[in-house]
């Protein structure tokens, strides 16, 4: 029984936040520092620029009110693209799983809201772990003995709404985005799943946190060290097990920051043309970053090409998915 990705979609917020703007906030950062340390040239967010300029988002409840989009709206746009690419109607979806690290509503859940918006009375629930969720979702779905004909796996977030823009690092990191994936074991798709894994070390779960009524915060240095080490370990494992050839296979990492990804691809000798990413212009989209990067290169996937996603983050948790073009 082969699990296939029939279509994958993405969507992002539409407000560009520049490094120069962050420098002008006078919070101890500048455009050059951001490029050198984080490698992000611009990011897309859902908070109006004048609002950030005026308030620095010191009250996240107010941020939620003035935001130009919601995680649900982003998810629905990504779903629409995924269905179109899979050649199915949303009414054919038989199960939905969703991850949203900062929903606007606790009840109903994001998956239940999306199902309602699509007018689907089907099993729908959250499967949540934040940044490495693409690996968790694939690993979760792959375990089923039998699945509905089409399964929708979504990850969506608007983390910019929980950023303290007085913090010189956090404001530079986050963008907003969603990805949606149509999976099936009954139909062959453009990508088939070769392998997946998901694991966690919850003893370090307080290293990356989004407070319900507050902001995002993390132990930046520790998380960065963990992310680089763990991603390299995941890649090495895949190289050894499947004999990956970086002259033709593709790597997609967690879209946390571009300099970290450079460090990883240099270590594993992965050439730039076979490293797919979107963090430089979108920012860190939490769990949506890696699958959205894949979705943005959907037309570049060729038969026989193998794509490895290795993702890490909150939990602390990590995982990988190896796919092959069909």
């Amino acid at each position: 029984m082969t699990l296939s990705i029939l279509g994958i979609g993405f969507s992002h917020s539409d407000i560009a936040l520049s490094n120069q703007f962050l420098e002008d906030l006078d919070i101890g950062t500048n455009a050059q520092w951001i490029i050198e340390k984080i490698g992000i040239e611009s990011r897309v967010i859902s908070l109006p620029i004048p609002y950030i300029e005026k308030t620095r988002n010191q009250d996240p409840e107010e941020g939620l009110k003035v935001a130009t989009t919601t995680p649900t709206e982003l998810a629905l746009k990504a779903t629409s693209m995924a269905c179109e690419r899979a050649g199915i109607s949303p009414s054919q979806i038989g199960m939905i799983i969703c991850d949203c690290v900062r929903p606007n509503h606790i009840i109903p859940t994001e998956a239940q809201r999306i199902a309602k918006a699509l007018d689907l009375s089907i099993p729908a629930f959250e499967v949540l772990t934040a940044c490495p969720v693409f690996a968790l979702h694939i690993d979760f779905i792959k375990r089923f003995k039998e699945l509905p004909e089409y399964v929708l796996a979504i990850t969506t977030s608007a983390v910019s709404q929980v950023v303290n823009y007085n913090d010189r690092s956090d404001g530079a990191i986050w963008g907003d985005g969603a990805s949606a994936c149509i999976l099936s074991t009954k139909h062959l798709g453009k990508l088939k799943i070769i392998d997946s894994e998901f694991d966690a070390d919850p003893t370090r779960s307080n290293a990356v946190v989004i407070d319900r009524f507050g902001w995002f915060h993390q132990d930046g240095r520790a998380v960065r060290d963990f992310s680089v080490r763990q991603t390299v370990r995941l890649i090495k494992r895949a190289e050894e097990k499947f004999g990956l050839d970086w002259s033709k296979d593709v790597f997609i990492g967690h879209q946390a920051n571009a300099t970290m990804l450079e460090q990883i691809t240099t270590n594993r000798k992965i050439p730039e043309q076979n490293h797919w990413h979107n963090v430089r212009c979108i920012g860190n989209q939490a769990g949506a970053g890696a699958p959205a990067s894949l979705a943005m290169r959907w037309d570049d996937i060729k038969p026989g090409m193998r794509v490895l996603t290795a993702v890490v983050g909150a939990g602390l948790s990590w995982g990988s998915v190896l796919m092959e073009g069909v």
């Binding site: 509503h105 606790i106 629930f125 959250e126 949540l128 039998e146 919850p202 370090r204």
Partner: protein, 283 residues
Amino acid sequence: MYILGFGKAFPNHPLGDQRFTSLPIPYIKETKNVPIKNALMHAVNSPSEIGEIALRAALEKAKLSTEEVTYVIGDTSTPWETCPSEGQRVAGRLGLKVPSYDVTAIGCALSASLFAITRWSDPPSLIAWVSSNLITQVIDFSEGTEKDLFGDGAGACIISADKEQGFKVEKVEYTLNHNSKFIIEQDLFGAIKIKSLPTSDELKKEFEPLLPQKFDGLIVAPPILEKQISSWGEVISHKHGELLGSNSAVTLAEIDVPVDSQVLVLEKSGGGGTGMILLRRVS
């Protein structure tokens, strides 16, 4: 698939009757818990703390040690943090380094998790499941009926495909119904609100497609819907107030079911979810 043991836990402050709250009573009297976002600064317990106690109780009931757990699934509808997941926070408190995450479906948390696990081809050997909901932290005590209905508590259970012990999971169903008359809402910064409660007939219509054709055992129901379900057979609910995803595990931790008897667990979520778990006591 077997459930080896159930566990439960509550905060220490009695709220009257058999309900508990994690908020200091003087704080509730003085502020009515308005605004909701201040509750976290005054609350005595977090969901993870109470979840950990419930999970330890489930492990004790199953006669297992923490180190034997290979997988953790969590749930909460009252998170202090929307990231990381509740499963990861509770697993971290137990010192576990195993795959951990959340499967969340509000009042259908256990049926949604079992819906998946019972359909897996190679499930992990020992899954710790925990749902912790400290709902008084999101109640506006100045108005509405919510203050009389909800409580704080956590339920947990240990799930295994290998050990034939406790309850055998005979059937699990979970789905959504967007025409459900049971509607609960909670905005991220807002209080929990009951928008609509179903009649017995409306509820029966929602459950009917999922129910087994023949059943004459005990029915475990959510406290908030016990009255509507009471005419369907012998129905039992715990008496600690509505606990959403924690309900079923809390009730099952409190009752004695004779060996070879069946139990029908009914779950509803305010977001349209409907769940059913058919269990048989095997030891």
